[in-house]
């Protein structure tokens, strides 16, 4: 309706199988020049696979890709790039030891007579960053940037090749509100420049705000494509999940136990002035932007990167863990945010992963399947958490994110810690598994454990927690009671909480 132009991109009847699984089946969609086409679906619905096919990382088993009406096939990302496709990938792929400029032009370095043209390189990088209204210095080392800045560099990298088709895979995941809105402005400008934008996102408001059409995927198949106006959030979610969101968050408990954890004036190199209390039976959410110190807080309490200042009490006893082992021994558990890098031994079996902490504390020469580490007990525990796998002695890398996370939960439940710290418990996990994990968290609290939940997902923090502690620049800047709105939390997180008087706000700072 808005456009009569022929599509810039068509993906027709795309299918892709991996050994033992069919990831995509007969998926088609098109994107016209100047159109923003959103792709939605739960994690595992096949969005990423579809984008990887478009980016030349995977080759489809069936179907066809057309660029401006011409059939195309990509054996390597470089071919997709040459065909005018730019991709902002979900996983950060920066080189930490190289400069921002080097990262931005990577793969398409400007040369003069075969020699790298560093002046042009920096000028080009600067220009792209300027278009993004970013003040990142092009000579900075990428590894020294904050996560949000790194995400900006990723975006700049995709724009560097001046793509006619731009794929954005969850581009705002690490950005704060103002950065995200700047990005959306940019998308609008690109749209005006007749770039075809394929926009993959979880964030419903963004999709509503920016996209022209929406395609919903579920279980590797296309559910529908429709104009965004015709897709209110409720309908969209129903299409994606097959049910309503309301039943998502478990009801809060009433338990008000004694104080479990008390942090007084805690601090280290990244965080300071931390005062925090967690009671038994309570889920305390920790909100804040990326880089606000949430993760550092979790690690400090756990003992992995300990506090160097201040004191802690656990169960009324002085608690000063110097290592994760100390933390565990005292009754704390920690589920790291980066599961692949910090949580899982990918090549080992589900059972081995589930028994990891038990084995860390068992006698070295005990049978690996002694007592609680026995297969029967482990399997029971895994089944209780509804872990789905063909076999429990398969390597855990074959599992979906949700199931992997459940295995890690099983690992901690075996120790039955008093305090369990969840960092981004549902990052990269599909909706159904999310609900299950929320239920587990609440159930643990109901059974008298204290829960600290670090999350960048605002609906999640607000929906699950009994109390939300908000961090900003390494400090706790405020606290919101149960039932606070996302806006209240966000206001604190971006640092406005104290100065802007908002009588309606439920939060204090």
């Amino acid at each position: 309706m808005t456009s009569v132009l022929s599509p810039a991109l068509e993906m027709i009847g795309i299918s892709k199988s991996f050994p033992g699984v069919r990831a995509l089946e007969d998926v088609s969609f098109e994107c016209r020049p100047g159109e923003v086409h959103a792709i939605c679906g739960e994690n595992g619905a096949g969005k990423s696979t579809l984008m990887k096919i478009l980016g030349g990382i995977y080759r489809p088993d069936g179907g066809e890709i057309r660029i401006k009406g011409q059939p195309a096939s990509f054996a390597h990302p470089v071919e997709a790039r040459r065909a005018g496709i730019g991709i902002i990938h979900q996983e950060l792929s920066l080189l930490p030891d190289r400069s921002v400029a080097e990262n931005i032009v990577l793969g398409a370095e400007p040369t003069r007579r075969g020699v790298l043209d560093r002046t042009a390189m920096r000028a080009g990088a600067r220009e792209i960053l300027a278009r993004l209204q970013s003040s990142i210095e092009v000579d900075a080392r990428a590894g020294d940037l904050s996560l949000a800045e790194q995400q900006m560099v990723e975006i700049a990298k995709a724009l560097a090749s001046k793509p006619s088709i731009l794929v954005m895979d969850e581009p705002t995941a690490a950005l704060d509100d103002s950065e995200a809105s700047r990005l959306l402005d940019l998308v609008r400008r690109l749209r005006r420049d007749s770039v075809a934008v394929v926009y993959v996102s979880h964030r419903m408001p963004e999709i509503a705000a920016i996209s022209d059409r929406v395609t919903v995927l579920k279980d590797g198949r296309k559910v529908l494509t429709d104009r965004t106006e015709a897709m209110p959030t409720g309908r969209l979610v129903r299409c994606m999940v097959g049910r309503d969101l309301e039943e998502f968050f478990p009801p809060r408990g009433a338990a008000d136990g004694g104080v479990l954890l008390q942090v007084n004036e805690g601090g280290n190199a990244t965080i300071s002035d931390i005062n925090l209390t967690v009671r038994r039976g309570e889920v305390v959410g920790v909100a804040g932007l990326e880089g606000a110190g949430k993760s550092a807080l979790a690690r400090a309490i756990f003992g992995d990167r300990p506090f160097t200042r201040g004191t802690m009490q656990l169960n009324g006893q002085p608690f000063a863990p110097r290592s994760s082992r100390d933390g565990i021994r005292a009754g704390v558990g920690f589920l790291p945010d980066d599961r692949k890098r910090e949580g899982l031994a990918l090549g080992q079996s589900l059972r081995d992963n589930a028994a990891l902490t038990l084995r860390a504390f068992a006698r070295a020469l005990a049978l690996p399947s002694a007592g609680a580490m026995g297969n029967l007990t482990l399997d029971q525990r895994l089944r209780a958490l509804d872990v789905r796998a063909a076999r429990f002695d398969d390597p855990i890398r074959l599992l979906s994110g949700g199931n992997q996370q459940k295995v890690i939960i099983a690992r901690w439940l075996a120790r039955d810690p008093q305090l369990l710290i969840f960092a981004e418990p549902t990052r990269g996990i599909d909706v159904a598994a999310k609900a299950a994990i929320y239920a587990i968290i609440r159930d643990l609290a109901n059974r008298g454990r204290g829960i600290l939940m670090i999350s960048s997902d605002l609906p999640e923090v607000v929906g699950v927690s009994d109390r939300v502690v908000v961090m900003h620049e390494g400090r706790i800047v405020g606290e919101c009671p149960s039932g606070a709105s996302e806006e209240d939390v966000m206001a604190l997180a971006v640092g406005h909480g104290g100065s802007v008087a908002e009588p309606a706000s439920a939060c204090g700072s």
Partner: protein
């Protein structure tokens, strides 16, 4: 203001290891010479003699730097050096006319071996340690079954490579300097260099950025083997002939890896550079020369050298918070 600080910090990071090694090596050499009153070792002739010790290991190590930067490794260089030395002297058989063909054949064979190494690693996904350990064994076996001693000889004209000099400066030392400059230029100023760091730093990311990572690995290995071939040519010239054990007896495979790592290039790839490697080679040469001056007996020397290898790497890896295996 933090932004203004960053480039300075970067420079510090990139230059401290080589500089430290250079200073440490120079100090060790100076002390040894002064302690033993071998003042002649501080003369031009003495210093040139010291530099001459760096040529063979330095040349291999330059190639090794390239593969380690892209997170690979080459254990076949020792055998490749032997192949290069033997082929050169065997083809030349003392005839000046055969010099050019011999050099060409050696470089061609070296490039071929390197390309195969790279292909086995990149395409067959064989761990580089095993791939090059295997190819080294294959080369050594083939070579030793064909030759069992010094084969042929190089003509006097070719010996100029190792023994010729302009003024006090031997061609070979100059050559190593130029090679080092060349590799440094390659790393800093060409796409290949940028891509090499990218593949070593984050192979998946490099691929996503449209870099043909397989190609980069093959190119790096080809260059590495070429440098090993050059080392073979240099040794053939210096020893006047090539024998199938010159590479193995020189322990160039493990020593080249050791100097690269001592020079601050990470085994995991993506960080490091040429000057660290050169400084590492210099350290090894200084150890040899100083121990000679000090008259350290052979056996204790081995013990001390092993300890220095560990200590040199430990000095800056200690700060590393992550896990190392």
């Amino acid at each position: 203001m933090t932004l203004a600080l960053q480039p300075a910090r970067r420079r510090h990071r990139a230059f401290s290891v080589p500089l430290l090694l250079f200073i440490g090596s120079a100090a060790l050499y100076l002390c040894a010479a002064l302690w033993t009153q071998s003042l002649n070792q501080l003369s031009a002739e003495g210093i040139v003699g010291l530099l001459q010790r760096t040529v063979a290991l330095g040349t291999v190590a330059l190639g090794q730097t390239l593969v380690i930067l892209c997170a690979s490794i080459d254990l076949s260089v020792g055998s490749m050096i032997s192949v290069g030395a033997v082929l050169a002297s065997f083809i030349m058989r003392g005839a000046p006319a055969m010099m050019v063909p011999a050099v060409l054949v050696v470089l061609l064979v070296a490039a071929g071996v390197g390309a195969i190494n790279g292909l086995v690693i990149a395409k067959l996904k064989v761990s580089p340690l095993i791939a090059t350990l295997g190819s080294g064994l294959i080369l050594q076996g083939v070579l030793s079954s064909g030759f069992n001693n010094f084969a042929g000889s190089v003509p006097p004209a070719f010996q100029a490579v190792a023994y010729g000099a302009i003024g006090p400066l031997p061609w070979s030392v100059l050559g190593l300097g130029l090679l080092a400059l060349g590799v440094s230029w390659l790393l800093r100023s060409t796409r290949f260099g940028a891509h090499l760091y990218a593949v070593g730093g984050n192979a998946a990311g490099a691929r996503l950025a449209g870099i043909r990572t397989d190609r980069v690995i093959v190119q790096a290995h080809t260059l590495c083997s070429l440098f090993a071939g050059l080392t073979g040519l240099y040794l053939a010239s210096r020893l006047r002939s090539g024998a199938p054990w010159v590479g193995r007896d020189g322990v160039y495979d493990l020593e080249s890896i050791a100097v690269v790592v001592i020079g601050g290039t990470m085994l995991a790839g993506g960080r490091g550079g040429v000057w660290g490697t050169i400084a590492g080679v210099l350290l090894f040469a200084v150890i040899d020369a100083s121990f000679n001056m000090l008259g350290v007996p052979a056996f204790p020397k081995q013990v001390i050298r092993g300890a220095i290898v560990i200590a040199a790497v430990a000095v800056y890896s200690l700060r590393n918070k992550g896990h190392v295996a």
